[in-house]
Amino acid sequence: MISQGFFARFLAFGVNVTLTRRDVENIAQLARLRIAEEELPVYVGSLSRIIEFVEQLGSAETDEVEPMAHPLEDQVQRLRPDEPTETDHREEYQRNAPAVEAGLYIVPKVIE
């Protein structure tokens, strides 16, 4: 089916493992994701491969290139008048909440 050369061209790019276990723990912490101890090595491996893979962007000459801000040229973020358009849906929305009391979302105690 698919020729090996095709993948080799991408997969051979960058051979150093770029991320350490410590790096991945930091990233997970920033992303507020609890990663089980035994899963960490899997993420160290796959995230390193992804980062190595995207390193090939460095080969593109972009000194004179503007970063792309929007897929459609001349399209800017549309603003709307600052007028209320929504009605109160609190009760309806709180039906999906894990814990609610007296119309409030309940979380563990934040301030001791």
């Binding site: 990233i27 997970a28 992804i50 893979f53 460095g58 970063p67 792309m68 897929p71 709307r80 999906n96």
Partner: protein, 486 residues
């Protein structure tokens, strides 16, 4: 002909002409889902009662002389579209208990067109995947070979339409998630221009790339449904305020004189030769119809996969920060403090691929790395965009294969993210540049469908649909259903 082998257009005509009722059609498809879904796992939720209610309403509208082209025709929605009062999971444990309080604009528009909602289709978790294997609700099977994947992320929609469990289905496409599964299941799949279809109520993955669209049997069906779902929506700040052409009314424009650019980079090393032959044969059909074929090079295009795997994870890490276990969605058991609540709810609620992408995005956006990765990728994105612009100064449409190979085996690529990501090597470019693109079935390789991809300049949906329709008048690949499901 059995009802399920009819196209959406044929079903609409039959319902309006009184040959059969929407209720009959709807029951027929619900029965097929009941019999077939256990094998394919294409649907996460079937909304039978609601569908029959929709059908009764449609039949009443037709009886009152108020039926439109799609009135009474059933459809399935990808489970990324919020559906009022119905479970909307996005294929994730995180939303496995989420009953949407409102309708996505796409859902509301298609309901207003009289369409009947059969249910919600399975998908890769948060639309992140190319094989529908990352779903919390289990993999979807390809009706052409149940040991193979249907593609992803709109894999449930693709399998449902390919197996004729639904005449047509919605999908979303961030890097190929409509076109790739359409190709691997023998369907016509359209990803419209960025901003053409409202993203309101469409659960966000990568907001500068995401676009809703349709998976159908034919270009005609795709045109009909796209027309009904497109258009300006003040509730989506990226929605484009421009009139929607009557796509279905101009399908018969001839392709004679059409200039089609054949993308050289798409026919190189890596393309399965038999898939390439099928695509070349399709291009010859265009030549025989009077289209002019021009070979073109888009030199920055091979960088589209690494560009995407910076931009999409960056946007996903930001979008998915809303899932915090507080206001809706999954919450872990007995959190000890707020931090524990956040990290465990997210760690347990998201699957491995979603976590991998959130972490990739967090890394490329983190202090000290932003310029090297995200800014660099947005610059390369502009190079890719410039390549497309140059090409469209010369030609009307671009053409190539949709995928490098036909459908692969379930489990074959799950261990290596990069190998999986390379499935979208031909489709990602259109997302990066916001261009409309479609995949149309153009042959069978060892009994498995493969697709021809057509890419157009912004808002060239009419040209794309016309070109696909012209091809479908000359060929019958689009009318083939997998024999086990015909």
């Amino acid at each position: 002909m059995s009802l399920h082998l009819k196209t959406a257009a044929e079903l609409g005509r039959g319902i309006r002409a009184g040959e059969f009722s929407s209720a009959e059609v709807t029951r027929h498809f619900l029965d097929r889902i009941g019999q077939g879904n256990g094998r394919l796992n294409a649907f996460i939720t079937v909304t039978a009662e609601r569908a029959l209610e929709d059908a009764r309403r449609a039949d009443a509208a037709v009886a009152a002389g108020k039926g439109g082209l799609l009135t009474g025709v059933p459809l399935a929605h990808k489970d990324i579209f919020c559906t009022s009062g119905v479970l909307t999971t996005c294929g994730s444990r995180m939303l496995s208990n989420f009953v949407s309080p409102y309708d996505a604009t796409v859902v509301a528009r298609l309901a207003a067109a009289g369409m009947v909602t059969l249910g919600k289709t399975n998908m890769d978790e948060f639309a992140m995947g190319s094989s529908n294997e990352t779903s919390f609700f289990g993999p979807v099977r390809n009706p052409w070979d149940e040991e193979r994947v249907p593609g992803g992320s709109s894999g449930g929609s693709a399998a449902a339409v390919a197996a004729r469990l639904a005449p047509v289905a919605t999908g979303t496409d961030t890097g190929g998630s409509i076109r790739q599964p359409a190709a691997l299941t023998g369907l016509t799949g359209v990803k419209p221009t960025y901003g053409r279809v409202s993203r309101y109520g469409m659960i966000a993955f990568a907001s500068s790339l995401d676009q809703g669209g349709v998976l159908a049997q034919t270009a005609e069906d795709a045109a009909l449904v796209l027309e009904a779902m497109s258009g300006f929506d003040p509730r989506d700040s990226t929605s484009v305020d421009a009139p929607v052409p009557a796509y279905s009314a101009q399908l018969d424009r001839p392709v004679k004189g059409l200039k089609i650019g054949v993308i050289r980079e798409f026919f190189g090393e890596g393309l399965d030769p038999a898939t390439g032959d099928a695509v070349q044969a399709a291009l010859e059909v265009y030549r025989s119809l009077g289209a002019e074929l021009v070979e073109l090079s888009l030199p920055a295009l091979p960088l589209s996969v690494p560009t995407y795997y910076v931009v999409a994870p960056a946007e996903c890490s930001s979008n998915l920060s809303r899932f915090d276990g507080v206001r809706f969605g999954y919450r872990c058991e007995s959190p000890t403090d707020l931090h524990d609540l956040y990290t465990r709810s997210r760690g347990e609620g998201f699957g491995a691929e979603v976590k991998r992408r959130i972490m990739t995005g967090t890394y490329v956006l983190s202090a000290g790395y932003y310029d090297a990765y995200y800014l660099k990728a947005q610059k390369v994105r502009n190079l890719i965009n410039a390549d497309f612009k140059r090409a469209f100064a010369e030609v009307d449409l671009l053409a190539g294969p949709t995928t490098p190979t036909p459908a692969f085996g379930i489990g074959a690529k799950v261990d290596d993210p990069i190998t999986m990501y390379l499935n979208d090597i031909y489709t990602i470019g259109a997302n990066l540049a916001g261009l409309p693109a479609l995949s149309a079935p153009c042959g069978l390789v060892d009994g498995l469908p493969v697709g021809l991809q057509l890419i157009g300049p912004h808002f060239a949906e009419p040209r794309l649909l016309e070109a696909a329709h012209a091809y479908q008048r000359e060929t019958d690949w689009h009318r083939r259903a997998p024999s086990a499901w015909a």
